[in-house]
Subunit: 205 residues, 2 copies
DNA sequence: TTCATTCTAGAATATGCATTCTAGAATGAA
DNA sequence: TTCATTCTAGAATGCATATTCTAGAATGAA
C-alpha cells in the first residue's frame, strides 16, 4: 500500500460512540471526534464522507452486536432468555448501550440522511431483527403472525427490558440486581402469545 | 397596556411543540418557529429569552397536563388506572405526546440550560410526579419505600405503557385497541408491590 | 530514482442559526 | 398632545461547525 494510516475507521467510530454516550448527538461534532482521537479534522473525511456516515457506521456496528446477542435466542424460541440477554449485552459496553438505546436514530440523522450503502445496511440489520422476532412467535403460536402478536413480543422482549434498564443507563450507575428479576417476573406474569394458555382475561370490545 | 401584541407565548410554544413533534428538536429552529407562527424571528425574544426557554416552557406546559392526568389517580392508589390514563392523554394531543415522550430532555437543552425559573419549574413538576408515585406505593405496600419498589412502580405505570405506545407515536398512526389490553394485562400479571397481598391492586374490592 | 497514491496536518470556506440591533408603529396615561 | 412603553418587522452580527482545500510526507511499484 501507500502511506500507513495513523487513524482507522474504528478509532473514529469509537470516538463518536463515546461522545454521543457522554453528551448526546450534539456533542459529537467533527472537531470533537477528531480531538478525541488526536487527529486533524480533515482526516476524518478520508474514512467517512460525512458526519451522518460516522453515525450510521457506529449505529450499524453497535446494532450488529445487539442482533448477535438476541437473534440466536429468538430463533431458538427462547424469548425469556433473549430478554435477559440484554443485561449482559448492555453491561459489556456501556457507551455502546447508551449510544444505541438512549437516542432516537432520527436525532442522529436529522441534518442529513446517511449515505446509501450504510442506510441499506441499517435496514438489513433491522429487518434481520424483525425476522428473528417473527420466527420466535411463529414457534410459540400457531404459525400465523398477527401484528398484535409481533407488537407484544417486541414489547416484552425488547422495549420493556430496555425501559427497565434506561434509568440506570441514564444515571450512569451499575445495574442493580432487581433489574434482572423484573425482566424475569415480567415474562413469568405476561405470556408472549395470548393463544396457547388460559391468559385471556382482559377484554374491551 | 401599550401596543397590542399579535403573537402570544402560546403561539410560540405551540409552534415549538408541533415542530419538535414533526421533525425532532433540530427542526425547531428559531426561524422555523417564527415562520410557523407568521412572526419575525426577533419577536420571539420579546416572549422568551432564548431557544432553551421556549423548549422549557413547552416541556413544562406539556408535562403539567401529564401530571394532571396521572397524579390524582396515583394519589388515590389506583396504579392500573393511572397507567391506562396515558392512553387518552396521548390521544388527546398527539403533538404534545410526541414532543414529551419521543425525545430525551437532554436533547432539548444540550445547547444551553434553560433559564433558572423555568428549570426550577421543571424540577417542581418532576418532583410532584415522583411524590405521587411514592404516595401510590406507600398505600399498597407497608409504608416503607425501597428504591426497588419505586423503580417497579415507575416502570409498570409509566415507562412500560409508554414503551407500548411509542411505536404508534413514532409511526404517527392511531393506537390500536390492543395497546390498552396490553397495559391492562401487564398490570394483571405483574404486581406493583412484591410485598403485601396478591396481585389485585385497584379498588375492585 | 521517480511516481502515483493515500495519507497527515491544519488552514480556509461556507453555511446555518441564535441572538442582537435599528427603525418605526400602536397604545394608554398624563 | 406628548411620552414612555411594548410591540412588529426584518436586517445585521457573530459564532459554531461541517466540509473543502492546500501543502507536504510516507509508501510501494516500476
Amino acid at each position: 500500500m501507500v502511506r500507513t494510516a495513523r487513524f482507522s475507521t474504528e478509532h473514529f467510530i469509537d470516538a463518536a460512540i463515546a461522545l454521543v454516550a457522554a453528551g448526546g448527538p450534539g456533542a459529537a461534532t467533527m472537531q470533537a471526534v477528531a480531538r478525541h482521537v488526536g487527529a486533524p479534522t480533515g482526516s476524518i473525511y478520508h474514512r467517512f464522507e460525512s458526519r451522518s456516515a460516522i453515525f450510521a457506521a457506529a449505529w450499524n456496528q453497535s446494532y450488529d452486536t445487539l442482533v448477535g446477542a438476541l437473534a440466536p435466542l429468538l430463533l431458538a424460541g427462547r424469548p425469556r432468555e433473549a430478554a435477559l440477554a440484554l443485561l449482559p449485552w448492555a453491561s459489556e459496553d456501556r457507551d455502546r448501550a447508551r449510544f444505541l438505546l438512549l437516542h432516537e436514530p432520527v436525532s442522529l440523522f436529522e441534518d442529513a440522511p446517511p449515505p446509501e450503502p450504510l442506510r441499506q445496511e441499517m435496514e438489513r440489520l433491522e429487518s434481520g431483527m424483525d425476522q428473528a422476532f417473527r420466527a420466535c412467535i411463529a414457534r410459540t403460536g400457531d404459525g400465523a403472525i398477527r401484528e398484535e402478536d409481533l407488537a407484544r413480543a417486541k414489547f416484552l422482549i425488547f422495549d420493556a427490558p430496555i425501559a427497565i434498564l434506561r434509568p440506570h443507563l441514564l444515571a450512569g450507575s451499575a445495574f442493580p440486581p432487581f433489574v434482572g428479576q423484573m425482566i424475569a417476573e415480567l415474562h413469568a406474569g405476561v405470556p408472549i402469545a395470548r393463544t396457547g394458555r388460559g391468559a385471556d382475561d382482559t377484554q374491551a370490545a
